[in-house]
C-alpha cells in the first residue's frame, strides 16, 4: 500500500506545484490564426493586460469557428476578418459594438514559373479562371475561415464552381496550406501576414497576383452581446475594444513588423 501512497502523494504534489495562481480577471477572445501566428498579439496584449490587471486568453482558430464560439457564448470578444459574416453575427444579435481594427490584403501565390500564366491576369476573378482553365493544382483552405470565405467569393466572381482533382480542399490552417502548396507546386490564396512569415525559407512560392481592391482584408473586433449571454465579461470586452481601436493599441499595430515588413495597416493611413 505504501507504494500507492507514495505514488499518489507525488502525483498530487506535482499537480499542486504546477497549478499556477493567476491574478485578475480573464478575458476570453477567439481570433483568427493570422493575428496569433504573425506574432502581433504577443506585443499587442501585454500593455492591455498590465493596465487592467487581467489576462487575455486567446483561442486562435479560423474565422468561422471564432464566430461560432461567440454564438455559443464561449468567448467574450472576437477579433476576425470576414466582413459579411461579422455583419450577420451582429444582425443576429450575437455581437455588439463592431469596430474596424486594421487591415491587410490577400494575395494569390504560386510556383515561380507560373504554369497557368496568372501574372497576366487583370483581376483576381480572371486569375482564378486561368488557374481553373489550366487545371493547375490549387489548394483551398476548405475550413470556413476568413480566407476560405474570400476564396469562395472570388470563385463566385469568376462564375466558376471549382471541382476536379486539381482543386484540393485541405481543411487546414493557412500555414499548412502554404506548406502543402509548396510541396505540390500549387496555387493558393493567402493572407499577406502569413505569407510574409513563410517567405524566409519556408516556401519558394511567389506572389503572382496582388493589389486589387477586392482582395482587401479588413479585421473587425466585436463584443459578444451581454444581453444574450449575461455571463460574458462585457465591461472588460469594451475596454479591450477601446484599447485596440484607441491610440495605444493602434500605435502598437502600426509599429509591428514581421521579418522586417509591416503586416497590418491602420484605417487612418490608407484605405477608408
Amino acid at each position: 500500500m505504501k507504494l500507492f501512497l507514495k505514488l499518489g502523494l507525488t502525483l498530487t504534489l506535482i499537480a499542486g506545484l504546477c497549478s499556477v495562481a493567476v491574478a485578475g480577471e480573464r478575458l476570453r477572445m477567439s481570433t483568427t490564426t493570422s493575428t496569433e501566428n504573425s506574432g502581433l498579439l504577443k506585443v499587442l496584449l501585454p500593455p492591455f493586460e498590465k493596465k487592467y490587471n487581467c489576462t487575455v486568453d486567446v483561442i486562435s482558430v479560423g474565422t468561422g469557428k471564432a464566430l461560432k464560439l461567440g454564438e455559443t457564448g464561449d468567448v467574450d470578444v472576437v477579433l476576425v476578418h470576414a466582413r459579411a459574416l461579422e455583419d450577420a453575427f451582429v444582425a443576429a444579435g450575437f455581437g455588439v459594438n463592431r469596430r474596424d481594427v486594421m487591415y491587410n490584403d490577400f494575395i494569390i501565390i504560386g510556383p515561380a514559373n507560373d504554369p497557368a500564366k496568372v501574372r497576366s491576369a487583370k483581376t483576381a476573378a480572371e486569375a482564378f479562371r486561368l488557374i481553373a482553365a489550366a487545371h493547375a493544382p490549387f489548394i483551398s483552405r476548405g475550413d470556413e475561415s476568413g480566407t476560405h470565405q474570400k476564396e469562395k467569393e472570388l470563385w463566385k466572381a469568376a462564375a466558376m464552381k471549382p471541382a476536379g482533382s486539381w482543386y484540393v480542399e485541405s481543411g487546414q490552417g493557412m500555414g499548412e496550406v502554404i506548406t502543402m502548396a509548396t510541396e505540390r507546386r500549387a496555387y493558393t490564396l493567402a493572407d499577406r501576414a502569413t505569407y510574409n512569415a513563410y517567405r524566409s525559407g519556408k516556401t519558394d512560392l511567389k506572389t503572382v497576383f496582388e493589389g486589387e481592391k477586392g482582395l482587401f482584408n479588413p479585421y473587425g473586433v466585436i463584443a459578444v452581446n451581454p444581453k444574450r449571454f449575461p455571463h460574458v465579461k462585457s465591461d472588460l470586452a469594451m475596454k479591450f475594444i477601446n484599447y485596440i481601436t484607441g491610440p495605444e493599441g493602434q500605435g502598437v499595430i502600426a509599429s509591428f513588423k514581421a521579418h522586417g515588413e509591416p503586416v497590418f495597416f491602420l484605417y487612418g493611413n490608407k484605405g477608408r
Binding site: 505514488l7 504546477c18 480573464r26 501566428n37 483561442i59
Partner: protein
C-alpha cells in the same frame, strides 16, 4: 538531415535555457495529466476490481465495453465533452470550457478504461487463493481486497503508466477542451501542433524531444518506485 540536427540543437538550447514558455507548457501538461491519472486511478482501479473479482451475467459484455472504450478516439471524447461543457450545453453554466479543468475531465475519461482494463487483467491473473486465504484469516472483504491489491501492486502501477502514457501524449482533448491558450492551457502536444501549423517543424520536433525526455524521467522514477 539538417532538419533533425537543427531540432536536436533547438531542444537542447530550450532545455538548457529553461525557456519560460516551454517550461509553462511542460508544467501544464504535467499538472493536467497527473490530476487526470489520479482521478482515473480512483475510478478505474475499483471498477477493475469489481469487474475482475465478481461473476455477473453481463461480465463478458462489460469487459468488451471496456476494451472498446480503450479505442475511443481522443477527438470524439473532446467533441462529446465540448457539447456538454459549452455555454449552450447542459453543464455550460459552470464555465469550464477552455480551462485546465476541462482538460482534466477529458483526460480522466480517456484514462479510466485503460486503468480499469489492466486492473481486470491483473486481478484475474493473481493467485486465486489470496482472497479466500485472507478472508479465512479473519480479514473483512475490504481488507481482503486491499491485501490482494498489495500482491498485484506492480501490475496496477503498470496500468497507471499505460494510462499516463496515453493522456500525456494525446492532443485531441487538450486542443478541443483547452483551446491551446498560451500560458494557460497550452500543453506540450498542442504546442507541437501549433508549431507544425506555423511551419516551424524543427521547433515542433524539439518540443517533441522534450516531451519524450519528460516521459522518460517519469518512467525512470516509477521504475525505482517499483523496484523498492
Amino acid at each position: 538531415m539538417g532538419f533533425i540536427t537543427e531540432s536536436l540543437r533547438t531542444s537542447a538550447a530550450l532545455i538548457v535555457s529553461l525557456d519560460p514558455e516551454v517550461f509553462a507548457t511542460v508544467t501544464t501538461s504535467l499538472a493536467v495529466s497527473c490530476c487526470a491519472i489520479v482521478l482515473a486511478a480512483l475510478i478505474g482501479v475499483p471498477a477493475g476490481v469489481v469487474v475482475g473479482l465478481h461473476d455477473f451475467p453481463l461480465k463478458r459484455a462489460a469487459i468488451t465495453l471496456l476494451n472498446t472504450l480503450m479505442a475511443m478516439p481522443t477527438v470524439v471524447v473532446g467533441l462529446l465533452l465540448y457539447g456538454i461543457l459549452s455555454r449552450q450545453g447542459p453543464l455550460g453554466t459552470m464555465g469550464l470550457l477552455f480551462t485546465p479543468s476541462a482538460m482534466v475531465i477529458g483526460q480522466t475519461l480517456l484514462a479510466v478504461p485503460i486503468v480499469a482494463n489492466y486492473t481486470v487483467g491483473v486481478v484475474q491473473g493473481a493467485d486465486p487463493r489470496i482472497l479466500p486465504t485472507a478472508l479465512t484469516l479473519g480479514a473483512g472483504p475490504l481488507e481482503g481486497v486491499l491485501q490482494l491489491l498489495r500482491q498485484v501492486r506492480f501490475g496496477i502501477v503498470a496500468a497507471l503508466i499505460a494510462g499516463f502514457g496515453r493522456i500525456i501524449a494525446e492532443v485531441g482533448v487538450a486542443m478541443m477542451l483547452g483551446g491551446n491558450i498560451r500560458g494557460y492551457t497550452r500543453t506540450m502536444t498542442t504546442a507541437i501542433a501549433l508549431e507544425t501549423s506555423k511551419g516551424e517543424f524543427a521547433f515542433g520536433l524539439a518540443l517533441g524531444l522534450i516531451l519524450m525526455t519528460v516521459a522518460l524521467a517519469i518512467n525512470l522514477f516509477l521504475n525505482t518506485l517499483q523496484q523498492r
